[in-house]
């Protein structure tokens, strides 16, 4: 069963750009507490550039669209989230290749590839207080779902809620990766900005309104 086509992929990416623009100041504020205070600005710069590229790739395969998004993020973000999200999109694009429609199994494989890209680049594990804390449980959840028994709206809710819980788990953690790790125990008590932006991007995929 096909659950996603090129138009949906384009719409999801536009959703991402909208949501990042809307949450730009919030992400930057989070980052100024335990990082270098540019996460929202960087992500928005990246997604503004991505949006401007979408017109030119609309007709291409899903893999090609995702790879364009990844390369654009790498070139324009300017912070650590550029190589991390960029690699995620490029790996996801590689995984789905020339397809114009995706089955649920394709979406699972795409998510696994994106996570593998983030882990390869950042070498972070669950519990390090990074975007992996949001993305890893989502991939685990997707792997566990038997779609025949799950209506798509339930699936979207499940994914969003899993990402939200993952994001919130970073608050109690001490950072072991990234600039926040220099703060040691002072990083505890703050959400990780990358985990939060990953949650927003997940909401853009599931088309659910983010709740913090």
């Amino acid at each position: 069963m096909m659950i996603c086509d090129q138009n949906m992929v384009i719409r999801v990416i536009e959703n991402m750009a909208d949501l990042i623009a809307e949450k730009k100041d919030f992400l930057t504020e989070l980052d100024s507490k335990i990082g270098d205070g540019d996460h929202g600005i960087n992500m928005n710069r990246g997604f503004v550039a991505v949006r401007s590229k979408l017109g030119g790739v609309r007709e291409r395969s899903i893999g090609s669209i995702l790879k364009t998004v990844g390369m654009t993020l790498v070139s324009t973000v300017g912070g650590a989230s550029g190589p991390l999200y960029g690699t995620a999109f490029m790996y996801a694009g590689n995984e789905v290749g020339e397809k114009n429609e995706l089955s649920f199994e394709d979406v699972v494989a795409l998510s696994e590839a994106a996570l593998a890209g983030i882990i390869k680049r950042g070498r972070a594990e669950v519990g390090d207080k990074t975007m992996v804390d949001t993305v890893y449980p989502v991939v685990e959840y997707l792997r566990s779902v038997k779609l025949q028994r799950t209506v798509l709206t339930n699936l979207a809710k499940g994914v969003t809620e899993t990402a939200r819980r993952g994001m919130h788990s970073t608050k109690a953690l001490m950072a072991r990766k990234g600039r926040a790790s220099f703060l040691k125990e002072r990083s505890i008590g703050h959400l990780d900005p990358g985990a939060v932006s990953s949650y927003f991007l997940t909401c853009a995929v599931t088309d659910e309104a983010p709740e913090l």
């Binding site: 300017g78 650590a80 550029g82 190589p83 680049r121």
Partner: protein, 133 residues
């Protein structure tokens, strides 16, 4: 000679590090400074890093020194995406930026090969600055 590329969040740090290293080796060596984001602010610009690596690569290899987080991630990403032939002769040094660059530049100017320059730069991790360690 092995080329040296300096990647910092700050254009000033990259340029300044290059100046310090060049004081040791004169103009005999390709040292490329690559600092800041696309607009010269604090950050990294992978496209410019890629160009700096090809500029520094004269066939005997390139050692890249990077400062923090996104600089290290961006360099890793670029090294992974190099063509197989070039991949073997371009490596990131596991070293602090300034000290590592100076040692790498000196080793390279002495005609050492890529492996030796990398090993030299890595020694910079263990430079003692106080006696009571």
């Amino acid at each position: 000679m092995v080329g040296v590329v300096i990647v910092s969040h700050s254009a000033k740090v990259a340029e300044g590090t290059k100046e310090i290293a060049e004081q040791m080796v004169g103009g005999e060596l390709q040292i490329i400074a690559c600092g800041g984001d696309q607009k010269g602010g604090i950050g990294t610009d992978p496209d410019r890093i890629r160009a700096a690596i090809s500029m520094a690569d004269q066939g005997e290899g390139v050692v890249v020194l990077a400062d923090l987080g996104s600089a290290v991630l961006s360099v890793g990403l670029i090294l992974d995406s190099l063509p197989a032939k070039q991949k073997q002769r371009v490596q990131m040094a596991d070293a602090p930026l300034v000290e590592g660059t100076v040692i790498a530049a000196v080793e390279s100017a002495l005609g050492k090969n890529l492996r030796q320059v990398l090993a030299g730069a890595r020694e910079a991790k263990f430079l003692e600055k106080t006696e009571d360690v």
